[in-house]
């Protein structure tokens, strides 16, 4: 395999985007990514579109987006891995370039969720498990899947609901500094604690919102990347794994086994010792669809040991300047979670952080030049961990 780098990124405003169709929304992200890379549609050899759909009633979003964006007759497909679809698109685009099938590939993530009534969105998300045995028979909703993890975690380690709330407070703080975030308002622990239960112990403010948005990245071969930019951001390792559809078959509810497996693979490929991850990474983007998910991620990704994740949240160690800054863009919680766009949005943030292009208040200190993105589909059904770096891989 050859090497590949991100050379262009684009990101729309996240929020309720009633002003645009799915294809227009995607185009705004694509246009910005092409301009950032200094290329035009004609330079793109291959396109991968991430869209989970159902809410937008567009069964062929990939074609729609390609046509609207003037990407011509190049190969294209839509990929789906639930909320990890965006990272699946990046992996497919990366593989096309690294295998030298394409010089330049484009990964686009787009989702329009707000045009479905809330209960319908709850149903569509709830179906993202084992539909018949969990959602249909027992009424388990998507928040309820994660609530089972939250109660198990709280019972095992003595974490408090306030510790989960601390994650929401942090992510809303950074959302308030991100002009592209869905929610740009700071919240307090009290705000979270007084919000209504959705699936005990998870409250409304423990949950990421239903959001519209799009993001795009341009991935180029080494030769092309060198021609296009002085600061290529290399894709150093992608790990991918999955887990059982039915939660009752999980080994335990204290972590996501798929994240652990994907992280191990990504660290190995990037040459990072997992036990030293927090010293090597300048920042991480983790999948905080619910506050408990971010705490599990701290442990699954090896930032701290088992049972120590909630203390990291409680003590503010994942703010800028802490042990490791996490979700400086507001995360899924405040930036929003347009599910097909989320993985690509994480990549855009990782690249902008490494290039130091963010407003100072939410710009991580870039010392080693490494960033990690962690994107989960369903309740750990799919997991992708990707490591981006300013440093080129030493061998190819």
């Amino acid at each position: 395999m050859g090497t590949a780098a991100v050379v262009g990124v684009g990101h729309t405003q996240f929020g309720q985007r009633s002003d645009m169709t799915l294809a227009e929304l995607a185009w705004h992200a694509i246009k910005e990514a092409l301009q950032d890379a200094g290329i035009t549609q004609r330079d793109v050899d291959y396109v991968v579109t991430s869209n989970v759909g159902g809410w937008s009633s567009e069964p062929l979003p990939a074609i729609l987006v390609n046509e609207y964006s003037g990407l011509g007759d190049v190969g294209v497909m839509r990929v789906e891995a639930a909320c990890a679809s965006g990272s699946a698109a990046i992996r497919a685009a990366y593989n096309a370039v690294a295998s030298r099938e394409a010089e330049i590939a484009l990964a686009v993530g787009v989702e329009k969720m707000t045009e479905s009534p809330t209960l319908q969105a709850v149903e569509l998300l709830g179906r993202a498990g084992n539909f018949f045995w969990e959602f249909e028979q027992f009424g388990l909703t998507f928040p309820a899947y994660y609530a089972l993890y939250a109660t198990a975690y709280i019972n095992q380690y003595g974490a408090k609901e306030e510790d989960l709330a601390a994650v929401a407070v942090k992510n809303h703080f950074y959302g308030s500094l991100n002009s592209l975030a869905h929610f740009q308002k700071k919240i307090s622990i009290e705000d979270v604690m007084s919000s209504r239960y959705i699936a005990w112990p998870l409250k409304l403010y423990d949950c990421s919102p239903i959001t519209d948005g799009a993001a795009a990245v341009v991935i180029a071969s080494e030769d092309m990347a060198r021609k296009l930019t002085d600061t290529p951001v290399w894709i150093r390792g992608i790990g991918v794994a999955s887990d059982t559809s039915n939660l009752s078959r999980r080994q335990n509810f204290l972590g996501l086994a798929s994240t652990v497996k994907a992280a191990d693979e990504a660290y190995r490929k990037a040459g990072i010792d997992k036990t030293e991850a927090v010293r090597r990474l300048d920042l991480a983007e983790v999948h905080d669809c619910f506050t408990i998910a971010e705490i599990l991620a701290y442990e699954d990704l090896g930032f701290v040991g088992r049972g120590e994740g909630y203390a990291l949240a409680r003590e503010g160690e994942t703010y800028k300047g802490g042990l490791i800054p996490v979700n400086l863009d507001g995360g899924l919680k405040a930036k929003g979670h347009p599910i097909g766009a989320t993985g690509v949005s994480m990549a855009v943030e990782a690249v902008k952080q490494l290039r130091q292009q963010n407003a100072k208040a939410r710009q991580a200190d870039i010392k080693n030049g490494y960033a990690l993105t962690h994107n989960v589909g369903g309740t750990g059904h799919y997991a992708y961990v990707t490591i981006y770096s300013l440093n080129r891989p030493t061998q190819s």
Partner: protein, 135 residues
Amino acid sequence: MSFRIRIPSIWRAKRFLYRLEGYRCSRCGEFHTHSRYVCRRCRSRELTLERLPTRVRLVDYTVVHQATRNNEDNLPFIVGLVETPDGVKILGQITDCEPEDLAPGMELETTFRRIGVDGDANIIVYGYKFRPEIH
């Protein structure tokens, strides 16, 4: 939304939904809720019909406060993960009690109940639920 076609899916699952009967692998012991030809763990073809015990232990639970149409008339409701004495874990709703009455590790028994309604015709769906043991 009305793209459910429930009656056949309930029919296929009736052994487990109504009677907690599933298929146990005679070689490795793995329990399957649906009929299978091959064990998903060890690939053995020796699967035999078995009824799960009616007494189980509560492992973990949540209280659902926001649900979709077929469960809306029942809110809030409790969904639990339970374990049989020989380690089979299954999910199900917990009834006849308040969330405060529950704690991980406590014993529950199975009961046959109305689970919810389906589709525009509001067809009633029945199946098992769990409840605290009545002594």
